[in-house]
């Protein structure tokens, strides 16, 4: 009898606190949302400006008309193509180089793991401009042997993505017992290629996906190296376009940003499904996504 009056005020207090916390949360979300969305809205607004204060979607109509775009802005189309090609090549090259190397170091050369980590993280500490100074003479030879194609940027980009990809893959590989699994597979008759393809990669799938998406976002946003080495890619084209037609330039930038967001959403969906499967199935490796930093989707 004496308890009831005491409980009710306590519940009320808790209820008020919860409500206050909810409001605080929404305020934070609203402020951050405004901070991030305002520039995007401003960009969208800018692209719809017409003459005499009117609004139209001419810029966006042009963007979806690929044929016309190719005629009006051939360098932009070339930049898009180059960036798309670079994305594919860089992802493949990064995975082909990094995954077997990291697995091999874990299996046979564990003493090399620290030096490997150091080398992979090194590009993070070197400013892009300094990197280009070192890369310029190298690229003189690259151009000599492979021609001046912008796709040759794949070598530089593979180096640039190493820190992000290494971290993502390292987190994934730490979540499984690579040594035991590969030895088990070997004892069952699997060759090294099979061990890699059928045992290691499926078990670090989310880490591979994570590393790939980070690579994609970084390559899509890369400007400095391409520009200073006089190659063309999406960001270089946008930059040049900005000097000629600001509306189209901003529209393309906005599209690139939205594409990056879309990729991140796809990434979370893919790794999320991986996590759900692991919960149902195998022992949970560390989430690669949790450890992997997000690469910038804006020009570097």
């Amino acid at each position: 009898m004496g308890d009831a009056p005491g409980i009710q005020p306590g519940n009320g207090l808790r209820h008020r606190r919860r409500r206050a916390q909810t409001i605080q949360r929404w305020i934070v979300v609203a402020v951050l949302g405004t901070f991030f969305l305002l520039p995007l809205v401003a960009m969208a607004e800018f692209t719809t400006r017409g003459t005499q204060g009117r609004r139209n979607l001419d810029t966006w109509r042009l963007l979806v008309n690929f044929g016309q775009l190719n005629v009006d802005y051939p360098q932009l189309v070339d930049g898009v193509k180059m960036s798309a090609g670079l994305v594919c090549l860089t992802v493949v090259m990064m995975l082909v180089i990094l995954v077997p190397t990291m697995v091999w170091v874990r299996l046979r050369l564990p003493w090399l793991s620290r030096p490997l980590e150091f080398i992979c993280l090194l590009p993070l500490t070197i400013p892009a401009i300094v990197l280009v100074v070192g890369l310029a003479p190298v690229y003189a030879w690259v151009a000599y042997f492979l021609g001046p194609s912008s796709l040759t940027l794949v070598f530089a980009y593979t180096v640039l993505v190493l820190p992000y990809a290494y971290r993502a893959l390292d987190a994934g590989l730490s979540g499984i017992d690579v040594k035991t699994l590969s030895e088990a597979a070997r004892s069952l008759g699997a060759g090294w290629a099979t061990v890699m393809w059928r045992v290691v990669v499926p078990n670090v799938r989310s880490a591979v996906v994570s590393a790939s998406f980070l690579t994609i976002t970084l390559v899509l946003g890369e400007f400095t190296v391409a520009n200073l080495l006089s190659r063309n890619n999406l960001q270089v084209a946008i930059n040049l376009l900005g000097k000629r037609d600001a509306g189209v330039s901003v529209a393309v930038s906005l599209t690139a940003l939205l594409l990056a967001f879309a990729l991140l959403i796809v990434f979370f969906l893919v790794t999320g499904s991986g996590r759900r499967r692991r919960v149902r199935g195998a022992r949970p490796p560390l989430s690669a996504s949790a450890a992997a930093p997000l690469a910038p989707a804006v020009p570097t």
Partner: protein, 384 residues
């Protein structure tokens, strides 16, 4: 005389149940010869000229403390370890330079080694897939192997949905599904709790007998080794100290190390006069390999020691040189108990008695120690 270092192999499978028989779809095992295996890590000799011969269908347990080289030997046999010297011969074929994936050996690891992204049946079918067995046949044989380990109903479960014991059973099924020439077990039970471990080791033995495969079982658990092996090889510093039947290794240890590593012993001082040694508690026969004369320390098993109340006079009256002492500790082991007796001269005598007898001898009780005439190993007393 050199003690029983090699021991003659028992008929494979004589330790438990009947001899090997080929189960459905399983072949018999191959002989294994490890000859003068050598492996060095820096200044450490992990394998120092190890030689071991395993008969077809036999289960040999390699037993020893951590770092004695038993796992290195197993991995050397599997091809997972690069050897500095020696030969690995299986079924008459020299496999020394054959890569792991061509050796046709099934291996169960200490750590859980199921592929997390595959179900139990897919795990078991993995080795068959590598051997290009067709899909339907692969699944049939994988299920057959799972049935063999009693896990047919868990075929579609992932590793994360199974207990440690179940995972190791699936790993065993996976190793057996490829019909290996040799089954290698690298401390497969060490991560399991005691009850599951005891259950699974019986299971491993049953299955090994059923499929008739040759097996090499590495463990540091003496009980495990003695319980399931046809022969036990006790290793120390990269070499075999003794290889023999479990009974031989336990009752007739070849060296001081084996006597102390396998089972418990009390060190009792005495004097050797050839075949026997005279101790304070009486005369005991000595095993071959013991010093022929002079002061010795005899390693006496607890079950060769009887305890009597100090008040009980032995038949024929109390001997002047009888060993008496006081109970200092009693460890209950279920139906039996182990009693530690302080012999009053700085030594401790271990005795194994029934739990009821142990209750009648609480710590502090004065007891008289009697030795049974069980042969024991005598070791020389080093001066200084």
């Amino acid at each position: 005389m050199t003690p029983n270092r090699t021991g003659s192999p028992r008929t494979p499978g004589s330790g438990l149940g009947s001899g090997p028989r080929s189960g459905p779809g399983f072949g018999s095992g191959s002989s294994v010869l490890l000859e003068d295996l050598r492996r060095t890590y820096g200044v450490v000799n992990a394998l120092d000229g190890l030689t071991l011969d395993v008969a077809p269908g036999e289960l040999v347990a390699l037993l020893g403390p951590s770092g004695c080289g038993k796992t290195t030997a197993l991995r050397g046999l599997a091809g997972l370890e690069d050897l500095d010297g020696g030969r690995v011969v299986v079924g008459g074929e020299d496999l020394t330079n054959v890569p792991t994936n061509k050796r046709d050996m099934g291996m169960v690891f200490q750590a859980y080694s199921l592929f997390p992204h595959l179900t139990a049946v897919e795990n078991v079918a993995f080795g068959l897939r590598m051997r290009k067995v067709s899909g339907a046949e692969r699944r049939r044989r994988a299920l057959e192997s799972l049935e063999l380990v009693g896990l047919g109903e868990l075929a579609d479960r992932y590793a994360g949905e199974m207990s440690g014991g179940q995972q190791q059973r699936v790993a065993l099924a996976r190793a057996l599904a490829i019909r290996p020439r040799v089954l290698l077990l690298d401390e497969p039970l060490s991560a399991l709790d005691a009850r599951v471990r005891a259950q699974l080791r019986e299971e491993i033995r049953r299955i090994q007998l059923e499929v008739g495969t040759t097996a090499l079982f590495v463990t540091h658990d003496q009980e495990e080794a003695l319980a399931i092996a046809d022969r036990v090889g006790v290793m120390r510093a990269g070499q075999l100290e003794q290889l023999g039947t479990p009974e031989a290794v336990y009752t007739r240890p070849a060296t001081e190390f084996v006597a102390e590593f396998v089972g418990l012993s009390s060190r009792l001082a005495g004097v050797s006069d050839g075949g026997t040694a005279m101790l304070r508690a009486g005369r005991v026969p000595l095993l071959p390999g013991s010093p022929a004369s002079g002061p010795v320390q005899v390693l006496v098993r607890p079950e060769a020691v009887r305890l009597h109340s100090a008040q009980d006079t032995p038949p024929g009256g109390a001997a002047a040189d009888e060993l008496t002492g006081r109970v200092v500790q009693t460890t209950f082991l279920g139906s039996l108990a182990r009693v530690s007796v302080d012999d009053g001269a700085g030594g401790t005598v271990l005795a194994q008695v029934t739990a009821a007898d142990a209750t009648a001898m609480p710590p502090g009780t004065a007891v008289r120690v009697e030795l049974l005439p069980t042969p024991a190993l005598g070791v020389g007393v080093t001066s200084g």
